[in-house]
Amino acid sequence: MSAAGQSPAPDHALPTAVQARLDQLFRHHLRDDPAAAATEALRRYIETYRGQAATQAGVRP
């Protein structure tokens, strides 16, 4: 499997403001677009990374 195909589903809920900002940053990216597998992978990694940081900081969604 390619590295771009390895992105797992985010397992940390993101605070609303963080999710809104990520949606804005990736506003030209359509979720689950097979033609944009790498952008999708980066987005999911960042979402999981931000979600875990929020969890560790005790920030609730």
Partner: protein, 279 residues
């Protein structure tokens, strides 16, 4: 206002010259047979360049346990390649006057450039690619923006307004408003300043790393650039993550855990460096 490539070249000629020692360094970035003592003496003749280089050398991103106070010490503790990268970074940041275009955020530019340099270095380390070359390419990849801002500040203000109005990438706004983009300007600058072919190619292809012959360095800078946009390090309200090339992403071959470490490393190390760069 549309710009011809000749007008880009004229704008570049109006920029301040790089110190001769930095021109030499950029031309020999991939060579190891540089005379270190001559290099230290040449740099030390420029107090401002020396001071900024030493501030960068003492930044946490370079992990020194002792404080270096001379270029010779930096060479001893950091090695030739890292020290000449820092000299280059220090010289470049002083070369472009800030504040020419009110809507262009110079500090945000250097935050992005510094973070891309650190992220590219991290990617290169994991791929066993030359880390110092990747660092410099990350730092230089968007210099064309500064060329356009400095030579055509009013037109660049219109580019930024267009980007905001159309919610598009900077590259698209530049092409729509100027007819050229920061990649064209960066390549023209790289040619004018005699950058190596590898570096010029990385600047030319950082938005198109799947182009045949683009090379691994362009792929590293492309992925680092996208990561830094996604981490929102510049803090630009109109920021947009550019589409990530699947070819370049797969060439990195990293898993999620490796990317997380890279995200952390980039966020942790870029703040101090960008503050020095934009001072």
């Amino acid at each position: 206002m549309k710009l011809a490539l000749e007008q880009l070249a004229e704008g570049i000629h109006d920029l301040p010259s790089l110190p001769v020692v930095v021109m030499d360094l950029l031309g020999t970035l991939e060579q190891d047979d540089v005379d270190v003592s001559v290099l230290a003496k040449k740099v030390s003749l420029d107090p401002a360049l020396t001071a900024k280089t030493l501030r960068l050398a003492n930044a946490s991103a370079f992990g020194l346990q002792v404080k270096v106070t001379t270029i010779q010490q930096a060479l001893t503790f950091l090695g030739l390649q890292t020290t000449r990268n820092l000299i280059t970074a220090a010289a470049l940041s002083g070369c472009f006057p800030s504040g020419r275009c009110a809507s262009f955020d110079d500090k945000a530019f250097w935050r992005h450039a510094s973070a891309t340099a650190i992220c590219a270095r991290g990617l290169a380390r994991r791929m066993r690619f030359n880390q110092d070359v990747a660092f410099t390419a990350g730092l230089l990849h968007d210099l064309g923006q500064l060329v356009l801002v400095c030579s055509h500040p009013d037109a660049y203000g219109a580019v930024l307004a267009w980007r905001k109005a159309h919610a598009c990438t900077l590259l698209d706004a530049e092409r729509a408003m100027l007819g050229v983009d920061h990649v064209d300007a960066g390549v023209a600058l790289a040619t004018h300043w005699h950058f190596s072919d590898t570096m010029r190619q990385a600047i030319a292809r950082h938005h198109a790393p799947e182009t045949p012959g683009a090379g691994m360095l362009a792929a590293i800078v492309h992925v680092a650039d996208a990561i830094v946009h996604a981490l929102d390090i510049a803090g630009d309200a109109d920021e947009l993550v550019p589409p990530v090339s699947t070819v370049a992403w797969n060439a990195m071959g990293l898993n999620e855990e490796a990317y997380w470490y890279l995200f952390q490393e980039t966020e942790r190390q870029c703040g101090e460096m960008s503050a020095i760069m934009s001072a």
